[in-house]
Every structure is written in C-alpha cells, then in structure tokens.
C-alpha cells in the first residue's frame, strides 16, 4: 500500500440512496388465541402441506378454541397469478374476520 505524500487524495461521496421507509407500528398481538380466527397463507413450496397441519395441531392443543382458515382459501401468493392473488387477500381477510395470520414459507 502506498503512503506517498505525493499521491492524490480523493474526497468521495456516499454511494447509496436515501432510505425511504416510513416506520410503522406492529399490529396489536392476540394474547389468547382461543376463539380467534387464524389464516394460513402459503406459497406452495418447501413442504407447507406437512408443516401447516403440524402447526395447526400444536396451536389447537394449547388453544382448543382457535379456528383456522386454510391456505386454499387464499391461493398461491408465489405462483403465476401471484399479484392477482395478493390483491384479493385483504378482502378475504376481512370476509373471514381474521384475527391473526401465519405466512410462509421462506426457505
């Protein structure tokens, strides 16, 4: 590495862009899942057909009153019609009066 005083110095600018995130607050959590409606959103990959039933069983054992809306009600949000599927999800969540959501699977 050269440290010659004759070597030019460079004043360099920041190469990134401004962050534009508008901070948001998390939705209030549900202390007790009994009597609550939980939706499952699945991208139809990475063994969700095995994982979601196991998760459902785990939750039901602890919160017997929890009700589940299966992923088939919402469609594949990572498939060929992903953007169309995503656009329908808010209305479907309202229609099912969903209280909480599980989304997956990123692996």
């Amino acid at each position: 590495m050269s440290n010659s005083p004759l070597e030019p110095h460079y004043d360099v600018v920041w190469p990134l862009g401004r962050k534009a995130a508008t901070g948001a607050v998390a939705a209030p959590r549900v202390a007790d899942l009994n009597g609550k409606v939980i939706c499952e959103l699945w991208d139809e990959i990475f063994r969700g057909e095995s994982i979601y039933p196991l998760v459902r069983k785990h939750i039901t054992e602890r919160y017997p009153g929890a009700k589940f809306i299966p992923h088939t009600e919402f469609g594949d949000f990572f498939g060929p019609r992903d953007r169309a599927v995503l656009a329908t999800i808010p209305d479907k969540l309202r229609a099912h009066r969903v209280d909480a959501a599980i989304v997956g699977i990123g692996a």
Partner: protein, 461 residues
C-alpha cells in the same frame, strides 16, 4: 401487507434466511415476527420435520402472534446516514478502497473513487434531475435515483457518456415486470443487458468476437455496474452483508451488444425491433440469467441442421431449470447466434420460423419435469390446473401419459435471438432466465439534448 392491515402476522422462514428477513424488516420499516425452521425442510425426514416444527417452529409462531414485538419499527429516515452528495471519506486510492470494502460498498474489485467532480461529469449526460427517483428499491428500501446511478457508474469504471444507458438499465430493472424484489433469490441469477441501436457504435461496445468476454470498457463496466447497483443501492450483499441469498451465485455478465449490421444484411429484424423499437433506435433490454449453455457449435449449410443442433443441446442444458418457468407460464431463453450461423439459417428461415421450431421441438418428459420441481422446492407441478387457470396453453394437458413430452418453452415469442459474436466461427450460445424473476424488460435510451456536443467532446479526449 397483512400486518399493515392491523392483523398480527408471523412468518415461517428457514434459519438460513434470518439475516435476509432482517434486511427486509429494516427496508419496509414494518416490524415482523418470525418463526424459524432450523435448516431446510427439503432435506429432513418426516420425523425430523415433525420434531423441528413441534420443538422450534410452532412455539415461535405462537409467540409471534401473542407476545408484543420487541423490535421497534425503523425510523422514517435514517438520520445518521449521509445526505446525497455528502463527502463520506477522504484518502488516497488505497485508503478509499479499504474504506469502501469495510462499508460493503464494493464488489471486491477496486472501485473508481466517486468524487463530486466525477459524479457531476456523469450527470451532464442526462437532462433529468439528479433527485429523480425510479423506485424505492427492495430489499433495503432505498431510493433508486439518478444521482445514485451516477455514483455507482463512476465506481464501476463506466465513462460519463454511458450514463443514458445506465439510466435506462435501472429504469428497466425498477419496472414491476422485472421483479427487482426477487433479485436476491437462492438461484443467484444475474441481470444481463442487451444494448440496441446506434449507441452501440457511439459507445464502442463490442458485438463481435469475444462479445461476452471482459475486456472492452463499455461492455465490461456496464455489466459490472448492474451488479454494483443491486449490491449498493438495492442492498443485495453476500456475507458479511445480507440481502443476497444466492446460494452459490455467479459473476456479473458483461453487456451484450447486437451485431445489427449483420442482422440487417440477413434481412432479419434486430433484437431491438423484436422488443418493439425502431431499427437503430437506442434501447436496452434487461433480463435475468440463471444458466449459460456451453458453446453451441453447429455445422452444415442448412437452416435445419443448425437449429436442430440448438434444439438438441438446449433441450438438455435447460431441461432442469425450465420447470420453474413453466410453473409460472413464463421464462425467456435468449440465444446469441453467431453471425456466420445466422447467415446460413437466414437463407432459408425467418427468425419466427427458428423460434417456432425450437418451441415445437424442445421438450422434456412430464415425469422428469415433476421430478426436478420436487428436488428444488419439495413441491409439484399440476399441468391441468395451470391450463385450466390460463397460465399454460392447452398443449400442456393434452395427455395423461406421465412420460409425455412437455414443451420447455411456453410460447415461441418468449425466445430471444440476438446476432453477435465471432463472424468467422460456427458458434452460438444460450442463456436461460430464472422464470419470471428478472423478466425481460426494455427501455428506450434517452439521450440528453446536448448529446452530439457532449459526444464530440468525449471523442476529442
């Protein structure tokens, strides 16, 4: 999206994606609860999977829905970050390199120090405001601005006169069709740009022998710029950074320029014309590349002989990866056809006939495609359902024979043919997109009003 509707949400992710999730959380500025599956479910037995769900994943999902999130939302502005154009470091060449490496603002090669003077020289080559923003780019949620294009163009070793091309590339990558949000996916695809129009010669882009080899300044630095932009401005960084989850990845791809003179002599349309532009109009077309074929050597003096050779090789090379494009009803193979080969083919066949032949004859057994699909993501592909919902043409559900040949390419016009390369050798090459991620997207290159004057100045240097 769901959390913003006021519904508590928890996401299932593999443990290898925790850092990427953190980048997304910061970028969106939305708190996100996660349940982590240790490892990858695709390689676990049923018993291992059940144990991991019960012991690790499910309790975290319950906690994510029932316990308040400790992680605060990102601030509206990262006030601690520098402003646009702010000097962030002063030092000699080596010190600048070290600083940029430490900050993860480099691709590992030496960068040209982005001084204000150099950035200003780039900004002269556009009539747009330096503050114009194309997109809040995922995953870090930063502004993809004209200024950031200039800075990263400097760093990548571009010349100022490349700026209109760099702007068009970023504009194309910011189009929703391109799906910039998927540029950090595990296949590790790279963006590839095809430059069309008179600007090819004005910028001295190579379109002949060695066209895809590093060595010509315009091709190389423009290709390098794309990866640097994804890394610096979007935030797709490999470790010790995060955001880029390309499991193995590949190097940046130098910019491709078409041999438009040869295409015109053959009576073929140029690739730019195929993408909707006028002959000679300056444009860029960007698409993902996840797989590159070996050299396609082909011999003989008939069109069929050469196109059959393309078919024979590409239907093997692309056999594995095409399932993901079929599943989404779209992927775009691109073939660089050597000018000498194109000359033989064009004597008998139009470009459309070449595409139709490839579309009809590049096939794979349905059972093998399903096998490849399962191996990658532990899922299947339901051809009948995809036909029923209009994603695939009827042809895909014409038979129930599990070993029936399935077309590898959904539509003939998804194939791109670019004449370029060594005119004195019988070689071509194929490039495969990563399904709809990095979908082929074009933009016109907009030159500044003073372009002739600026170009004359650059030529006099």
């Amino acid at each position: 999206m769901v959390e913003k509707l006021g519904i508590p949400t928890v996401s299932i992710i593999g443990s290898g994606f925790v850092k990427q999730a953190q980048v997304v959380i910061k970028g969106l500025g939305v708190p996100l609860a996660v349940g982590v599956y240790p490892g990858a479910p695709m390689v676990d037995s049923d018993a291992e999977l059940a144990a991991k769900v019960e012991k690790n994943l499910a309790p975290e999902l319950v906690a994510g829905l029932t316990r308040d999130l400790a992680r605060p939302a990102a601030p509206a502005r990262a006030d601690s970050e520098p402003a646009r154009g702010q000097i962030v470091f002063s030092g000699n060449f080596d010190e600048v390199q070290d600083y940029f490496h430490e900050q993860l603002w480099s691709d590992g090669l030496p960068v040209v120090p982005p001084t204000r003077e150099r950035v200003h020289a780039f900004l002269e080559y556009t009539d747009r405001s330096a503050d114009d923003v194309f997109l809040i780019a995922p995953p870090e949620g930063r502004e993809a601005s004209i200024y950031s294009i200039a800075v990263n163009g400097v760093m990548a070793g571009c010349r100022p006169e490349y700026m209109p091309v760099l702007i068009a590339i970023v504009e194309a990558m910011c189009d929703p069709n391109f799906r910039l949000e998927d540029a950090g996916s595990t296949p590790g695809w790279e963006p590839m740009v095809v430059v069309s129009g008179t600007i090819i010669k004005e910028l001295n882009l190579n379109y002949g022998q060695g066209v895809m080899r590093a060595g010509r300044q315009a091709n190389t630095s423009i290709g390098r710029f794309m990866r640097m932009y994804l890394r610096n401005v979007c935030g797709y960084r490999i470790p010790p950074g995060a955001g880029d989850k390309g499991s193995i990845g590949q190097n940046f791809i130098v910019a491709l320029a078409e041999d438009e003179d040869s295409a015109a002599q053959l009576g073929w349309s140029t690739f730019g014309e195929d993408c909707g532009f006028a002959q000679g109009e300056n444009a860029v077309t960007v698409q993902s590349v996840v797989c590159i074929s070996p050299p396609l050597y082909s011999a003989g003096d008939t069109a069929l002989g050469h196109v059959q050779q393309f078919t024979d090789i590409l239907s093997r090379v692309f056999a594995y990866g095409c399932y993901s494009g079929i599943k989404r009803g779209f992927w775009t193979p691109l073939i660089i056809v050597g000018p000498g080969i194109a000359q033989v083919i064009a004597r008998e066949w139009s470009k459309d006939k070449v595409k139709t032949y490839l579309w009809e004859n590049m096939t794979i057994p349905a059972s093998l495609m399903k096998h490849f699909c399962w191996q990658t993501a532990a899922t299947t592909i339901d051809f009948s359902k995809l036909v029923e919902e209009g994603t695939l043409p009827e042809r895909y559900a014409a038979s129930d024979d599990p070993d029936r040949p399935i077309p590898m390419i959904v539509q003939p016009d998804h194939i791109g043919l670019v004449v370029a390369g060594d005119p004195e050798r019988n070689q071509s090459r194929g490039y495969m997109s990563n399904n709809t991620q990095g979908s082929r997207t074009s933009r016109r290159v907009v030159l500044p009003k003073r372009w002739p004057e600026l170009l004359a100045r650059h030529k006099s240097h």
